[in-house]
């Protein structure tokens, strides 16, 4: 009895028909993640380790069919699941609501309007949140025919390059600089679709932990200059390693191509969120196997091409090709009267030239 009193009262919430018990204060997104990846809404801007993130991309919108057991009215609008706290008896519709799917399809389309779609040359391809989101909810074609906004590539600091054209303005790198580093020198300038991530008057980002903005970026807007264009993610082999670092925890993932460490990143959990932020020395300047103590191969559980079978056609969702074919499929109009049609006779020599040669086993 005494034990039960100490425990906080758990709240029951039903997401897509699956019931889960969570602690008070949990958001819908966290509750859904507790159930598993099949139910968890996509998140392009929300990043659990960063305080204040979320609510901007609108990818995680869900429908609340019943607010709570006390007040079972549905919420009038779709809500951002990353910020909405669960109530006891709440019923949430995620993938099961056509309204939610429709809104998400819209969000993908909006995010891709000004995105260059240069995945074939982008370092992020293969571990890109936007790529995965578009794969799940996007269309094969675009309805946008105007010019896309473009920016020049810019070097911000010695190790980081900013491709603003690819940015989806999730603000994660802004929060990272605010909360991980001791001084933020970059932020969002201008407004509307002219907004851009920029530094104050060409100032370089110069901080021991600045490299973390590369890891938190959901797309390929912030890239590692020591790794740019060197390889593709799916050709590399991730290995967990650590070292004695005076600045950070030193727990990292090394990405090998053959015997060579071509990239060092922080470790990420199954939701692509960094578990421990690492310093620039570990990330950019320590690329010899002899510097590290190898722990063993990294288990990739997040949604990525490097996780097995991410893009296989027979996984839960219909494949990209199938959906593309379904969208383009038109039944053949076969009501026409064919009785009067005659096959036009082709001159026999046109067949004669091809057929005997093809049938003849001897050349």
């Amino acid at each position: 009895m005494a034990e039960q009193e100490i425990k906080p009262q758990l709240l029951k919430v039903t997401i897509d028909g699956i019931e889960v018990e969570v602690e008070p204060g949990t958001t819908i997104l966290q509750a859904a993640r507790k159930i598993g990846p099949a139910v968890a809404p996509p998140a392009m801007c929300y990043y659990q380790p960063l305080k204040g993130s979320g609510g901007k991309c609108r990818a995680c919108l869900v429908r609340v069919a019943a607010g709570s057991a006390k007040d079972p009215r549905p919420m009038p609008k779709l809500v951002a699941s990353c910020l909405t706290a669960v109530q006891d008896g709440m019923i949430v519709e995620n993938e099961t609501s056509p309204q939610v799917i429709d809104a998400r399809n819209g969000v993908v389309e909006f995010l891709l309007l000004n995105h260059p779609l240069d995945c074939p040359v982008c370092d992020q391809a293969g571990e890109c949140d936007l790529q995965n989101f578009a794969f799940d909810h996007g269309k094969a074609t675009t309805r946008y025919e105007e010019d896309r906004r473009t920016f020049e590539k810019r070097d911000i600091g010695p190790f980081i390059q900013l491709h603003m054209t690819r940015c989806i303005l999730c603000y994660r790198c802004v929060y990272t600089a605010d909360q991980i580093t001791n001084k933020r020198v970059h932020g969002v300038m201008n407004r509307g679709d002219a907004s851009e991530i920029s530094t104050y008057i060409e100032k370089a980002i110069d901080n021991d932990f600045s490299g973390n903005v590369i890891d938190v970026c959901p797309v390929g807007a912030l890239t590692d200059k020591t790794y740019r264009f060197k390889n593709r993610v799916w050709f590399t082999k991730p290995v967990d390693a650590h070292r004695d670092c005076p600045t950070c925890s030193g727990n990292v993932t090394l990405w090998y191509r053959g015997d060579e460490v071509i990239r060092v990143t922080a470790r990420k959990n199954e939701w692509s969120e960094v578990t421990e932020f690492i310093c620039n020395t570990c990330r950019f300047e320590t690329k010899k196997t002899s510097d590290w103590t190898i722990e063993g191969p990294t288990k990739i559980s997040r949604s990525s091409v490097i996780a097995a079978n991410k893009y296989r056609a027979d996984t839960i969702k219909p494949s990209f090709g199938e959906r593309m074919a379904a969208a383009d499929y038109k039944p053949i109009d076969d009501k026409r009267d064919t009785s009067q049609l005659t096959i036009q006779q082709l001159p026999p020599e046109r067949f004669a030239k091809v057929l005997p040669a093809a049938l003849d086993p001897e050349p």
Partner: protein
């Protein structure tokens, strides 16, 4: 003669000075409130009056006040939203410019009722001269002991600060306004928490429109019941309407809510009718954000009754046949106006003013503007109309703040009611792009 609550003395010469305003019965409400009433009694009186937020949403002001959290040891703030930048709305500007003391009197009473010792008036940056008028009025009121320390010997202190904004439309959204007031980028906050719980500097805050706050002086003098007696049903009191467009007498008019739309347009007391030789085509009743209505639906409800200037009557029929009172930006169009061009113009405004924080609004407003630009300039495709409807639908309700809705509604409603006109632009690009060309097809003109 209709009741005038805000503009009764507005034409008195010198009303912008303290002495003239005082002679016309000004600041008696402050004396009455601070000397004889408790803050709770004032809130009760405002609740009884049933004033609805005049900034556009129409949320009851008394209820907003009673939601204010009152934790111990945390300051509370009152912020007056004078960032009026809705196209078609210019009532707050008119009020502040002509009778600044009415707003200051309202601010003192409201701050006292809410227990705020520091209150802000956030004025849009373009109105610098109005800021000077307000600052002068505040200095006068402070010199006479109505502001500052120990007001009228009651022990109540109030500091009133006028803060110029940067001229961004988004800062009229209450949480973006608070961010801007704190010195940050004017991005709307995610709600909840609402400002009543965590507002300015994470403290409980009430944000009210200029016109809403200005009504409190009259309410205190005459009682909440007297205010509720004016108007119709749940739309109590009077409303300032900024009338513009193809009417004979554009200007700001104070009307009792419940006046028929037809009377408001045609009566000599108000707009004085459509300009001579022209016919009434369409109406935007409450500022550019609200759905546009064709003439016949603007004047009558779907069931044939006259439409009235009230929150309920204007929104009768939902968005299928109704609109909203909004902030009272009343724009009248005659048959020479091109709805496509107008919709493009509104859309261009929202594209320019979107803060860029959440994706549907950031990308969608620009997309709609570009498609409308294309149609207007003779490059429209057949599928563009459906595309606009679909984009508007995907923005509406999916954004952080109401700017997304405000951008989607004018486009969706223009297509709902004037689809033929859009189609004509797409089908006849050569004709439609001639200077001054307007669709003259089948439509209800009055």
């Amino acid at each position: 003669m209709a009741t005038k609550i805000l503009t009764e003395h507005i034409n008195v010469p010198g009303i912008e000075t303290f002495d003239v305003y005082r002679k016309q019965g000004g600041y008696t409400a402050v004396e009455k409130a601070i000397k004889t009433m408790t803050p709770e009694a004032i809130v009760e009186e405002v609740k009884k009056a049933g004033v609805r937020g005049r900034g556009g949403a129409g949320f009851p002001m008394g209820m907003k006040w009673s939601f204010l959290a009152k934790p111990e040891g945390v300051p509370r703030y009152l912020v007056c939203n004078a960032d009026e930048s809705e196209p078609g709305t210019f009532k707050d500007h008119y009020l502040m410019k002509n009778i600044p003391h009415l707003l200051i009197e309202g601010m003192i009473i409201s701050s006292f009722a809410l227990g705020a010792n520091k209150s802000f008036i956030y004025v849009r940056g373009e109105l610098m001269y109005v800021i000077h008028i307000l600052e002068k009025a505040i200095a006068e009121a402070t010199a006479k002991g109505f502001l500052g320390k120990n007001i009228l010997g009651s022990g109540y202190d109030l500091e009133l600060v006028v803060q110029p904004g940067g001229g961004a439309y988004i800062c009229g959204e209450e949480t973006a306004l608070l961010e801007s007031l704190e010195g940050k980028r004017g991005n709307p906050r995610n709600k909840p928490p609402f400002p009543a719980v965590k507002g300015l500097y994470q403290s409980p805050t009430v944000v009210n429109n200029v016109e809403s706050i200005a009504t409190t002086a009259w309410i205190i003098n005459n009682g909440g019941d007297a205010y509720a007696g004016v108007g119709i049903g749940r739309s109590t009191g009077t409303k300032l309407i900024s009338a513009s467009g193809h009417i004979n007498k554009p200007g700001v008019y104070e009307i009792e809510l419940g006046v028929p739309v037809e009377d408001f347009i045609y009566a000599d007391e108000w707009c004085g009718g459509i300009r001579p030789g022209h016919k009434f085509k369409a109406l935007v009743a409450g500022g550019s954000s609200v759905p546009i209505l064709p003439a016949n639906l603007a004047l009558t409800l779907a069931n044939g009754e006259k439409r009235l200037m009230s929150y309920e009557s204007l929104s009768d029929g939902g968005f299928a046949t109704g609109t909203m009172l909004g902030s009272g930006g009343f724009i009248v169009f005659d048959e020479t106006s091109c709805i496509v061009r107008n919709t493009w113009n509104f859309s261009r405004f929202y594209h320019h003013e979107s803060c860029g924080q959440c994706s549907p609004c950031r990308e969608g407003t620009g997309w709609m503007e570009k498609v409308l630009h294309r149609i207007e300039h003779g490059h429209g495709h057949q599928q563009d109309i459906d595309l606009l409807v679909d984009v508007a639908k995907k923005i509406e309700g999916n954004t952080i703040c109401p700017l997304g809705d405000a951008a989607a509604w004018p486009v969706a409603s223009a297509i709902r009611h004037f689809r033929d006109e859009f189609q004509w632009h797409i089908d006849n690009p050569a004709e439609a792009t001639q200077p001054g060309a307007v669709y003259r097809g089948d439509m209800a003109l009055v």
